[in-house]
Amino acid sequence: MEEREIVKKLKSLKKIKPEKEFAFSLKKEILGENFFYHQEKIRFFYFLTFSFVLIFSFFFLLNFETKKFSKTEKNFEILSQSLEEIKNASSDQQKAKEKILNFKKISQSITPEDVEKISKDKLRDFVEKQMKARKVLASINSKYLQEIQNPASCLLVEKLIKEIEQNTLTEKQKLYFEGAKEMLKEGNCVDALTNIWYLNYIR
């Protein structure tokens, strides 16, 4: 046998290895309880940190979403309330003017995302209030009508049109609906909203 071959065979002895479990338990034994404790402690620490981060993130996101949603809901409530106030101020022009300004101010804070989030019931309620306010304003001074036309109203109309498109309408309703779409295209959101409102009363 050649020396080179013997050396190769000697190197092959490297595959002799102790059982992993034995090595692990021996190390644990020599290092005492603390070794295991240390490992467990580290594992527990990571677990705790991870859990904390997870729980914190969950509550943070939940809180954030709730707050955001609540803010949207609140703005719509105020907006609806403002329309109610316009309706009630029919006898006092000055007061009605103030309420219209207030309505404009609040409606400017409504974003497309807010409109997307608002429920159908709230939307219906808002539309009804806007129509009532519109009637009051028309009786006081028709120039005020344009004042309650604002970005929020237009966004609402767009949303309503998208929703109504999913429904089956009668021939008469279709006419009003097409009219509302045309008005929206022309930028006349309040009149478009009026047409949409009428859809509830015609068959």
């Binding site: 020396e3 000697l10 490297k14 002799i16």
Partner: protein, 165 residues
């Protein structure tokens, strides 16, 4: 670095090597486990004094193997025939094992302890002659000669006609 961390690092690096060294010198898994365990217990006790862990571990392992043979006369270097008979008891295991692997393992056991040491340390574990010189407390030149002789002796054992596992 803390004592535990230092020990853990050295244990991970050398335990397998020390176990293998003991196993090749005793041809018994149980004995190798006991001796390797003893080696690392000693290292744990002296960890703060030890400057060269590798050298310390091999020195202790060598001493323990020597003690083992000294205490247990029956385990003193076995004549070839005895070694063969004892192994025949576990035929199933013998079949599974690589015969050539067993041959070289047995042949090492029949060499002088100092030949075994240099062959295992240098060829199996890949330790440099300079490092082995530190472990065995010999000069590098002397070790070179020892290694040459050890390899020659091993070659002779493996060439013997009646040497088979």
């Amino acid at each position: 670095m803390s004592k535990k961390k230092k020990f853990s690092k050295i244990f991970d690096k050398f335990f397998e090597k020390i176990y293998r060294f003991c196993y090749l010198k005793t041809d018994s898994q149980e004995t190798a486990k006991d001796l390797a365990q003893e080696v690392f217990l000693k290292y744990w006790e002296k960890i703060e004094e030890v400057e060269n862990p590798q050298s310390f571990l091999y020195k202790v392992a060598r001493d323990l193997v020597y003690d083992f043979y000294r205490k247990s006369k029956s385990r003193q270097i076995l004549p070839l025939e005895e070694a063969l008979i004892s192994d025949c008891q576990n035929l199933e295991e013998k079949i599974i094992r690589d015969l050539e692997f067993e041959r070289i393992k047995k042949a090492i056991l029949l060499l002088k302890p100092e030949y075994q040491d240099v062959l295992i340390m240098h060829y199996v574990e890949g330790i440099s002659l300079k490092e082995i010189a530190k472990i065995l407390g010999k000069k590098e030149g002397t070790l070179r000669v020892l290694l040459f002789r050890a390899l020659k002796a091993l070659k002779e054992k493996l060439s013997q006609k009646n040497f088979s596992v």
